[in-house]
Amino acid sequence: MGFVVSKDLIARDPHLQNDCTSCHKGNAAAKDQKAAHAGLIDRPSDDPEAACGTCHPEIAKNYTLSLHYTAAGMKHGVSGRFSEAEKKTFDAKVFEQSCRSCHASCGDCHVKSPIVSGVNLGLINGHQFVRKDESKTCALCHGGRVYPEFTGDYGGTPDVHYRKGMTCVDCHPAAQFHGDGTAYPDRTKVAVKPSCVNCHPLEYVGKDSTKQTHETHDGRVSCSACHTASSYRQCSSCHLGEGARSSPAIVLGKNPRNPKELTTLRLIPAVRDTFQKAGIAQANFDALPNYWNTVPHNIAKRTDRTRDCNTCHQEGLYYLEAKMLPPGSSKKNLDLIP
């Protein structure tokens, strides 16, 4: 990591065969910093088609419609709480300035680490164009919850897939990052998503008793409800620009997107005054819950729920209860209590 361009790469990386100014503009012939940087484009791949599309036209075009670029998931995740007037205010004052300012350019994954909370770790490897380097790219934006759950850095049990040597792209192939040419409203609508049964079809799982257990719970309990190894991060109290507090827990409740299914829930940090500074009171705050179905990335074959039916069927150990709900949270949360 760092900010120094490796001169050795210039002869080796085909992306660097053109002059720096072919992507970054500026004036390479200038003799002082100010003149050299006149007209500089710091992040050329913010415009994927112009920067990368000359050689990678299909990927670049698809990427402009992908969720990593549009950040549409953030917009649609909260818009259900807004009146029509508030939606317009959100679009004008919040979305581009705040949510979408985090969109990833091509370079954020292939050249440099994305800047998170103002921290810029710089180039992945001397401005080399790398195919993938999850710990320096994915982990930066998804480092609040998913990645440290996956590696165990958060303090819990590392994901079994991580322990077997798998990385992000083994389940999330490049097409998911680059998009497939469709502008999806959020990740739940994406056509091709990772699924446990892609690699672990139920008919091939384990001995007869295990098959019976899976058949009994199929469609009624998610995989993660039983196979989440340990506590994962729950977030609360997010205010515009002031961040969130977090606490670890396993929470089981009804899937808000499929109430017939019991699944792992994650507390999402939206509170009634989240957008107060932007003049948005969230007229329909109670229309959406604060808990959403999630797949924690600390999966294990055996957990206290797979070992002992009583963990859920007698004790209901991790079930969402009314007394657990944050004060003043959405009334819709009550619908998720099993």
Binding site: G2, F3, V4, V5, S6, K7, I10, D19, C20, T21, H24, G26, A28, A29, A30, Q33, A36, C102, V116, S117, G118, V119, N120, L121, G122, L140, C141, H142, G143, G144, R145, V146, Y147, C235, G241, E242, G243, A244, S246, R266
Partner: protein
Amino acid sequence: MANNSTSARAMLLVAFFGAGALCAHAASSCVDCHGDPATMQKLVAPPQSGGAEEGEG
């Protein structure tokens, strides 16, 4: 004498292609600064410690 002549030719070739390589690199003076650790250390401030925000998840 023959050896001297061969050496001279070799030196000419090295000089010719070497200069070409230098010219190719010199096409962009950006790396004069951006490829120099000492210069970049002076120009790039250490990262500020993060705010209260966290990653997307």
